[in-house]
């Protein structure tokens, strides 16, 4: 046992990246309107 690795922390990281991606896309979409 050497602690939870990527399986655990990676999910939080992935959720964060998704949110950053969505917000970036949304800001660009609103600017282009």
């Amino acid at each position: 046992m050497n602690g939870p690795g990527f399986t655990f922390w990676g999910l939080f990281l992935a959720c964060g990246l998704l949110l950053v991606g969505y917000v970036t896309w949304m800001i660009r979409a609103e600017r282009d309107e």
């Binding site: 939870p4 609103e30 309107e33």
Partner: protein
Amino acid sequence: MTAQIWVFLGYFAVVFGIGWYSLRATRNETDYWIAGGELGWFTGGATMAATHTSAGTFVGTIGVMYTVGWSFGWVLLSIPLAYWFMVAVLAPRFTRQKELTIPAFIETRYYGKGIRGLAGAIILIATVVYIQAQIVAGGLIANTVFGIPTTWGMVGFTAILLAYTVVGGMVAVVYTDAFQLVVMGLGAVFAVPLALRQVDGLGGLLTLVESAHPLVFTWETMPATLLFTMGLSFFLGGIATPEKLIRLYAMKDMRTIRRGVLFSIIMILGINLLVFILALSAIVLFPSLSTGDLAMPMVATAVLPATLGSIMLAAITAAMMSTVDSLLIVAGSALSVDIYQNLVDPEASPRRRMWVDRLGIVVVGSTPVVLLLSGVGEGDLVQFIVLLFTALMAAAFVLPVVGGVFWPRATKEGAASAMVGGVTATFAWEAWGATTVEPVLCGFLVSAALFVGVSLLTPPPPASALAPYFESSTSRDSV
């Protein structure tokens, strides 16, 4: 016990209050079915998140994670991806012409009343089964909180749900959903620190959970194919389940939809990640439960102090009710608008239509509990039915909806065979296919093959059907 009852009575009182207030805001069918199409980002996003979060999240998801481990949590990523796809790709074309129901979109795009009735019938049957699974969960909660028999709990929840949904329609649903989302958020936010305190914080929890369940943080507890196809099921279902799509019509414009969906994604990710932590705590605190579905009730009753425990139970109830009320709208509109008014009584006056609308919700809302009382569909099947419903909706509607607004060559015959073939193939795989692959894969592939194949073999659609969704409708029909 008294604290529990007071929390629940207060909670029901707020829900009723909102429901009756909504009656005044409901003047016509557009208000009744899509809240006038004028929702802002907060109410629109809140109702999407609350509808998505069902008893399956608080009982089923936590149960699966208790049993198989953390890797199941990765399926969660399919939800924001689906919503992102829905907003960025589908919504700009899909919302060019607003309709009252999803089958009404099918009629406009696929130029036929029959195909609208078919879509209504598929939605009606699948949704009634889904409502039934949620009502069963409601009965169990009522049994825990009030000590009454589960059957009385099911009848009671049905009565409460019908009372505000029939009266206030979609307006009542979205405002009660916003309130119920707050209850769910509170439940999860309060429960996690208290559960963590019992296991020496997050660091302590991670160490303890690995010694209790050594494979919990590995990929070995669930076959990769199952994990991937489950994710696919939630992705496709997220795009095309009617209770999600109809909310695109209910929100004001594209800017509102983009912001509302962002809010919804934040809430869904937040609530689910907190629930996942509770599942890990349950592995440590209650290592030998007979079924994972007991993990959440155990956390609520044995870990939390009485008042917080009842807020947690209210959160589970809120998750169940905010999903069922949206399903009632979808199933009720399928019955009264897409089947009855469309096929049987197209000449009804506006006043008569409003009565039929309300009657439709009463019928679809009482059917599940009548079926349960007569012994049909009992059993502990919540998460199983949620997955099957999602798979059926994905197999039936992804291609006709997404393909309908992007592929001008798609025909009525192609869409009808995609719906029937997708549903049949999903059931067939459920009955006879390999259990390591979710049925949605088979249903979706069959649906796609029929959609494209049959469309190409039949005459192209008339220009009038394409006009609402394609800029120059006549020149693009040979893509």
